[in-house]
Amino acid sequence: MQFDFQRLGALIRKETIQILRDRRFIMLFLGLTFVQLFVYSYAASRTVYHLPLAVVDQSQDSTSRAFVRALVNSQYFDATMYLGDEVQAKDAIAKGQVKAALIIPPQFAASVDQHAANFLMLLDGSDQFAVRSGYSAAGLVAESFGLQMSAESVALTGAIPSTSGGLPINTSTQILYNPDLNDKWFVIPGIIGMILQTLAVEQAAIFLVRDREWGIMEQILATPVRQLELILSKMIPLSILCLLAFGISVGLGIFWFGVPFHGNIFLYFWMALLFLASCLGLGLVISTRARTQFEAETSSLIFMLFGLLLTGLFYPRTGMPLIPQLIGDIAPLTYFLRISRGIYMKGVGLEFVWGDALILAIYTLIVVFISAKNFKMRLD
């Protein structure tokens, strides 16, 4: 198969002019990227604050009220209802009016003094976020409240408190890269990748089919162009557009969402280009196999779903059974996610991401090769 740079150049020029003159396409492309970026970034968060809480305070003394205050002050809970007994509380949970209920038994203050107090927290087990958040929050607040109470009582009695304030082993924590465990810092580097993977795959998928359905393809086929030239000419201008969208998204991530960038920006963009090339190549493979735009669209939609759920973006890949793991292995995002998080958040360099980068490079070569082979230079 002969390859000619002049032909390639002419094809690239045509594609570029067509894209540049299609204002609507560019607006739509960029617009979609940014809308999705905003919606997903603001929605994606697992930390649950302000869980609606029903309070059944059967003690009604200063200690019990202090405990409720402690829970509310932690921001994890909002005391929205005050009820009489456990039955009412369960009912409120059943109705979905609250996600948790606190039952404080009578004589709370006295029991605390005697080191024999307890409370019951009911959690809505049908809501996984409420449960996880509520569980650890309740435990945390209870522990610190308890320690505070015992410290106070010790101070009152004049005894000497043990230095650690309770337990023989204490843990101090150092959280790397994202000290506040800000969800957005975690989500955004990944989301940008996901949005672009979806867009790149989809656009590449319909690109080829669109030309074919316009009858331009027949004219071009009657010339000496080769498959590889056609494939590359579709990929290169689109990569630039995607890289542009990527760059702006990263800019928004840094300056609007305030997620600090730690690594080498040049390396990051080279990796991004590699990632985009692999996504476009994948889209072209879909395109060469699809016969109508509908088929191409459906395939890319399914792929988008995979990209969302199986690449490790929001759900961990460790522990996935074999088939979902394998499917996730086919998505370029799985690899770019590690690269992106590595460079963006951890600030690591090539020595850590070269493995994934190499995989993406090989991936790109393979998909370009496959789509070139699949692309029929005839009408049937």
Partner: protein, 365 residues
Amino acid sequence: MLRRTWAITQKEFIQLLHFPIVLIGLTVGVALELILFAFAIHNNVTHVPMVISDQSRSEASSSYLNAFTDSADFDIVAMVPDQAGVIRAIDSGQASIGLVIPVDFATRVQQKDANVLMVVDGSDSFDAQSAYGNAAAISQQYAISLAPQQLSPLESHIQILYNPDLEDMWFIVPGFGAFLLYGIALKLTAFAIVREREAGTIEALLVTPIRPIELMLGKMIPNLCVAILNLVLTYSVGMLIFGVPFRGSLLLFSALASLFAIGSLGLGLAISSVSQSQVQANQLASLTNIAVMFVSGFMFPVYNLPLILRAFGYIMPMTFFLPIVNGIITKGVGLNDLWTPVLSLAALTIIIFYFSARSFRQNLD
């Protein structure tokens, strides 16, 4: 009027059956999707890779570390000499969490004054929180076991209703089934309407005495049947394979699920009415599909959503159907506990239908 609607319905049924592949693909495909994803998605974080720097190397530290290895939550993947080594391991992605046990650990434990440093990979904040929480809990348990008398004066009892073992599947399957149904409904209507418009047969129909509303209904009914079939299949698969219990009333669920299906179909109708081509309809449908996942409360909690996104969620039937699904399946509650979401869903469905009928009619002209 009924007769004309029935005629259209029959025609649509026949057309639908012309593509048995599409039908089979949809129903079987959906069941497969459910199985695939439900097995894959989980939030439980176990076997988290952990790196240790045990500078004490004493019996006390070994005993402490055993608490971690004994739990299934952590897998110790490396032992490094110092804190820098721990950080490097986390940098490279080899581990997500690390423990640094200081040299004087053993003596300090005797003095009830020991300190351990936990280094957490914050770049993965979703998992970091769980990992960190788990590790802290394990550490605390161990510490308590050493000094049982140093208990906090306050003992917490936490009772998890409905799903005490926190079975992941019970969280995922009900919601995911609804999500798949929504996707199907969108695809079906988009396919049905735009296909006709592109083929130009809509014009031929318009010359007949058919009224737009009859056309619309005629198209909806076969799709509704397919959607319901799908629903039954999906949830049966969910119950059988994943052992998710169905605690509520099947009848109530079917009725409300049909309501949801109608609302989703209506939404699909609206989308295809405003789309000028098959491609556009598909793109729009896919986008709302994904967006719904984010704002309806399925993937992420609704409480933290900023106002705009919350409002957007309120025009999606899924946002109201999710509490219904969870309510009936997992909580086992009845209608009198679900008034709020049911009424909201009903109201939303009516509104959607009104608008889609209007834009459908407008589009025909």
